[in-house]
C-alpha cells in the first residue's frame, strides 16, 4: 500500500499531462473535421490541391536524395581522416545549422546564392554574362534543405562509420583491400544499416519544412501543404481548403511514420575492443587530396551563409533597430513565449516520464496499466503525426468559430511551441530519468526517501544538466519558430521571426539581417551555454 500512495502523485501528474495533450490534439482534429463537414463544396479536391501535394512530396524526395547522397562522400572523407587540424571545430560547425532558426539560415543563403549574392559576384569575375539561377522556387528550397540536412546526415553517417570495429581495418590491410573493396565490403554495409533511418528522418523534416518554403518558395508552383494551409487561413480566408489540406497532411505523416517504423530496423552491433585505428586506404596522395577537397567544399557550403549573414548584420542599422519600440517588444515577446513554452514542454515531458515509471512499479498487471504506460511513452511522439501547422490550423478554426479571434493567441502559440519541442526534450530527459531511476530507486526505497526529499536530495542534483539542456533546446526551438506565430501573430503578438518576415516582405533587407543576427545570437547563447554546462558537470564527475 505504501508503494501505491507513493506512486500516486506521479501517476496523477502524468494523467493531467496526457489529458492536456489529448485536449489540444482532439480540439484541433474535431474543429477541422466539423468545419470540413460544414463547409459545402468549399474544400473540394481540385488541381491546386493536387499540385501542392505533388510538390510537397517531390521537393522532399529531391531534398532527401541530394542531402543524403552528398553526405556520403563528406562523411566518408571525414571518417577516413581521424586526425586533421580543425576536425573538432568542423564537426561543431556541422551541428550548427539545426540549432539555428530556419529564417536566419534563409537570409544567409540568399546572401550567398541569390541573384546579387556572393556566388553571382564570384561568377561575374570569371565569366562575362554569368548569372545565377533564380533562387526563389525549387532551387532555393533545395539549397536550404541541403544546407540543413547534409550536415545532419553526415554526422549520423560518421557515427555509423566510426562504429566499425578496429579489427575490420586490420583485416582489410592484411587482405590488401584497396579503397574500392573497402567501400564495398566495409564502409557501404556500415552506411547501409543507417541509411533508411537517416533518409527517413531527412524526408520527414523536409515534408514538414515551413519557413524555408514560405520564404524561398514562389507562388502556387512552389508551395507545400504546410504553406498552403497558412495561405488559406491568413490570406484567402478559406478555412474549408485549409481543413482539407490539414487532413491530407495528417494522413500523409501517419502513413510516413507507419512506413518509417518498418524502415528503421535496428542494426546488429557487436561491441569492439578499443584499439587505435589503422586504415590501409588513407596514405595515398590522391585520396588525401580528394578527401581534403570534399571536406573543404562541405565546410565552405556550410560556413559561407553564416559569414554572409554576419557581414550583412554588420551593415545593418543596429542602433536604429534598437531604438524601435516594436523591436524591443518583439524581443521580449519572443523570450517570454520561448521561456514559457520551454517550461511547459519540460513539465509535460517529466510528468509523462515519471508517470510511466511509477505505473511500471505498481504491483500487478492489468490492461489499463499497460495502456497507461504506452500512452505516456508514445504521447510525446504524437506531435510528429500532428505537426504544429495542423494543430495551429485546428485551433485557428476553432477559436475563430467561437469568436475568440486572437485573444487566446499567445496561449496557443506557447502550447504549440511547447509540444513541438516535446520529442527532443524527451530524448534528452528520458535516458537521464532512466539512469537516475536505476541508480536511486532501490537505495531511496531502502532508506525511505521519497517525494520532495528524493527529488531535492537524490534526483535533481544528477538531473540538473539534462534539464538545463532540455530547456535550452526547447527555448531555442520556440525562439526560432515561425509556424505557429505566422498563423496567430498580430500587431499585439509579434515575435522576432515574425518581425523579420515582415521586414523581408517590405524589402527592408538590412533590418531583417540585423534582427536575424540577434535571433541567431540568442539561440547560440542558449545552446552553447547549455552544452558548456553539461560538459562541465560531466568532467567534474
Amino acid at each position: 500500500m505504501a508503494t501505491r500512495s507513493r506512486n500516486l502523485p506521479a501517476i496523477l501528474a502524468g494523467s493531467i499531462g496526457l489529458a492536456g495533450l489529448a485536449t489540444v490534439m482532439a480540439g484541433a482534429l474535431v474543429a477541422l473535421t466539423l468545419t470540413a463537414v460544414a463547409t459545402p463544396g468549399g474544400g473540394s479536391w481540385d488541381d491546386y490541391l493536387w499540385r501542392v501535394v505533388r510538390f510537397t512530396l517531390w521537393q522532399a524526395v529531391l531534398s532527401t536524395v541530394l542531402s543524403v547522397g552528398l553526405a556520403i562522400p563528406v562523411a566518408r572523407a571525414i571518417a577516413r581522416r581521424r586526425v586533421f587540424p580543425g576536425r573538432g571545430p568542423l564537426l561543431r560547425l556541422f551541428a550548427l545549422p539545426l540549432a539555428l532558426p530556419a529564417l536566419v539560415v534563409v537570409l544567409g543563403i540568399v546572401d550567398v546564392w541569390g541573384r546579387h549574392g556572393w556566388a553571382a559576384k564570384g561568377l561575374a569575375l570569371l565569366v562575362d554574362d554569368g548569372s545565377m539561377p533564380n533562387i526563389y522556387g525549387l532551387t532555393g528550397i533545395l539549397l536550404a534543405h541541403v544546407f540543413f540536412n547534409l550536415p545532419l546526415a553526415a554526422r549520423l553517417m560518421i557515427m555509423h562509420l566510426e562504429r566499425i570495429p578496429g579489427e575490420n581495418w586490420r583485416l582489410a590491410s592484411q587482405l590488401g583491400m584497396g579503397a574500392g573493396a573497402i567501400f564495398r565490403f566495409i564502409e557501404w554495409p556500415a552506411l547501409r544499416a543507417g541509411l533508411p533511418g537517416i533518409a527517413g528522418l531527412v524526408f520527414m523534416l523536409c515534408i514538414a519544412s515551413f519557413t524555408v518554403v514560405l520564404t524561398l518558395g514562389g507562388g502556387p508552383a512552389a508551395t507545400t501543404i504546410e504553406v498552403a494551409i497558412y495561405q488559406a487561413l491568413r490570406f484567402d480566408f478559406d478555412p474549408g481548403r485549409a481543413v482539407i489540406l490539414a487532413l491530407v497532411q495528417l494522413g500523409m505523416t501517419a502513413v510516413l511514420i507507419a512506413l518509417g517504423m518498418r524502415l528503421t530496423m535496428p542494426a546488429v552491433t557487436t561491441p569492439s575492443l578499443n584499439r587505435p585505428i589503422l586504415r590501409p586506404d588513407c596514405a595515398k596522395l590522391a585520396g588525401r587530396v580528394g578527401d581534403g577537397m570534399v571536406i573543404a567544399l562541405a565546410a565552405l557550403f556550410i560556413v559561407l551563409p553564416l559569414i554572409a549573414l554576419t557581414v550583412s548584420a554588420t551593415a545593418a542599422p543596429m542602433g536604429k533597430l534598437l531604438g524601435e519600440a516594436i523591436v524591443w517588444q518583439a524581443i521580449l515577446t519572443s523570450l517570454a513565449i520561448g521561456a514559457t513554452a520551454a517550461v511547459l514542454c519540460i513539465t509535460l515531458a517529466w510528468s509523462l516520464l515519471i508517470a510511466a515509471h511509477a505505473a511500471k512499479r505498481m504491483p500487478g498487471t492489468s490492461w489499463w496499466k499497460a495502456g497507461f504506460i504506452m500512452a505516456c511513452g508514445s504521447g510525446g511522439s504524437l506531435i510528429l503525426v500532428m505537426p504544429p501547422i495542423f494543430l495551429g490550423a485546428g485551433w485557428f478554426v476553432l477559436l475563430h468559430g467561437l469568436g475568440e479571434g486572437f485573444a487566446l493567441a499567445p496561449a496557443v502559440v506557447v502550447t504549440i511551441n511547447g509540444l513541438m519541442a516535446l520529442p527532443y526534450t524527451l530524448r534528452i530527459l528520458g535516458p537521464a530519468h532512466a539512469s537516475a531511476a536505476a541508480d536511486h530507486d532501490r537505495l531511496c526505497d531502502s532508506l525511505g526517501i521519497s517525494g520532495w526529499n528524493r527529488w531535492r536530495l537524490a534526483d535533481w542534483p544528477v538531473l540538473r544538466p539534462a534539464f538545463g539542456l532540455a530547456f535550452a533546446f526547447a527555448m531555442a526551438l520556440s525562439l526560432g519558430d515561425l509556424g505557429a506565430v505566422a498563423l496567430f501573430g498580430s500587431e499585439d503578438l509579434t515575435t522576432l521571426p515574425l518581425l523579420i518576415l515582415q521586414r523581408m516582405g517590405s524589402y527592408r533587407t538590412a533590418d531583417a539581417a540585423g534582427l536575424a543576427f540577434m535571433l541567431a545570437i540568442f539561440c547560440l547563447i542558449l545552446i552553447i551555454g547549455a552544452e558548456r554546462a553539461t560538459a562541465k558537470t560531466d568532467n567534474g564527475r
Partner: protein, 236 residues
C-alpha cells in the same frame, strides 16, 4: 643453414611510457607460444610482425626478407584476433573468399579451395551462414579456413581462443596444431594460459615489460627456468 622464418633484430617501439625492445628468431616450422603478464607487449610483438605497428628502429625479417617497410597486406603473414575476425554482414563463404581476393574475384578453382578449407575446419554446409548465427568457436574456425586459403607461411594468433571454454579451447588448439603440421607453417600464439602452451607449443617465449626475457622448449622453460619474473608471473 636456412634463414629463420621470423627474425626481429633490435626492434624498438614506444608504447605509452614503456620503451619496448625485441630480439627474436623463430625457426621455420616452429610452434611458438608467447606468454607474459598483461601489458607486457605480447600483442605489440605480433602487431609488429604483421605490420599493424611500425617500429621506431631495428629490422624485421620474414624468411630472410626485410619486411620492416612493407604494409600488412604485402607480408607473408596471416593474423587471427581474439574477436571480429569476420565481417558480420557477410556470410561464411564470402568471408573466406576475401582471403583469396580482396575484391572477391573468384574462379571456379577458388570456390573449390574455399570448400575444401571449410571442410578442413569442419564447417561444410555452413557456407551461407552469417557470423552472428555461429558460436564463438565456429567463428574462429571460419577465420582459420581463411588462413588456409591465404596459405601464408606465418600464422600469428592473438589470444584467439581466450573467450572459449577449456575443452573447446583444447580442441581448437589441436586443430591449429594439425594445420601447422600439414602446411609446415610457422605459428606464433599469444596466450594467457600456460596449459595452452604445454598442450600445443613446441617452444615458448616469455615476454616481460617489452622484452623477450626467455625462450626455450616449452617444458624446459616451465621447469628449469630460474627467472624471477617468470616465477612471479606463473605463481604470483
Amino acid at each position: 643453414m636456412t634463414n629463420p622464418a621470423i627474425k626481429l633484430s633490435d626492434v624498438s617501439f614506444d608504447y605509452e611510457d614503456m620503451a619496448m625492445r625485441f630480439d627474436l628468431a623463430v625457426a621455420p616450422g616452429d610452434f611458438l607460444a608467447i606468454i607474459g603478464p598483461s601489458g607486457s607487449g605480447k600483442t605489440t610483438l605480433l602487431n609488429l610482425i604483421a605490420g599493424f605497428e611500425t617500429p621506431a628502429g631495428g629490422h624485421i625479417e620474414l624468411d630472410g626478407l626485410d619486411v620492416t617497410a612493407l604494409p600488412p597486406g604485402m607480408r607473408p603473414v596471416t593474423m587471427l584476433f581474439q574477436d571480429h575476425n569476420l565481417f558480420a554482414h557477410l556470410d561464411v563463404k564470402t568471408n573466406v573468399g576475401l582471403g583469396i581476393s580482396p575484391a572477391l574475384k573468384l574462379t571456379a578453382a577458388d570456390h573449390e579451395r574455399i570448400a575444401s578449407a571449410l571442410n578442413r575446419v569442419g564447417l561444410t554446409g555452413f557456407e551461407r551462414r552469417l557470423p552472428g548465427q555461429l558460436s564463438g568457436g565456429e567463428r574462429q574456425r571460419v577465420a582459420l579456413a581463411r588462413a588456409l586459403v591465404r596459405d601464408k607461411p606465418v600464422l600469428l594468433l592473438d589470444e584467439p581462443f581466450a573467450a572459449l571454454g577449456p575443452a573447446l579451447r583444447r580442441e581448437m588448439l589441436d586443430l591449429v596444431a594439425e594445420i601447422h603440421r600439414e602446411r609446415a607453417m610457422t605459428v606464433l600464439i599469444v596466450t594467457h594460459q600456460p596449459e595452452d602452451a604445454r598442450h600445443a607449443a613446441t617452444r615458448t617465449a616469455f615476454v616481460n615489460r617489452g622484452r623477450v626475457l626467455a625462450m626455450d622448449e616449452t617444458e624446459a622453460l616451465f621447469t628449469t627456468a630460474n627467472i624471477p619474473e617468470l616465477a612471479g608471473y606463473l605463481i604470483g
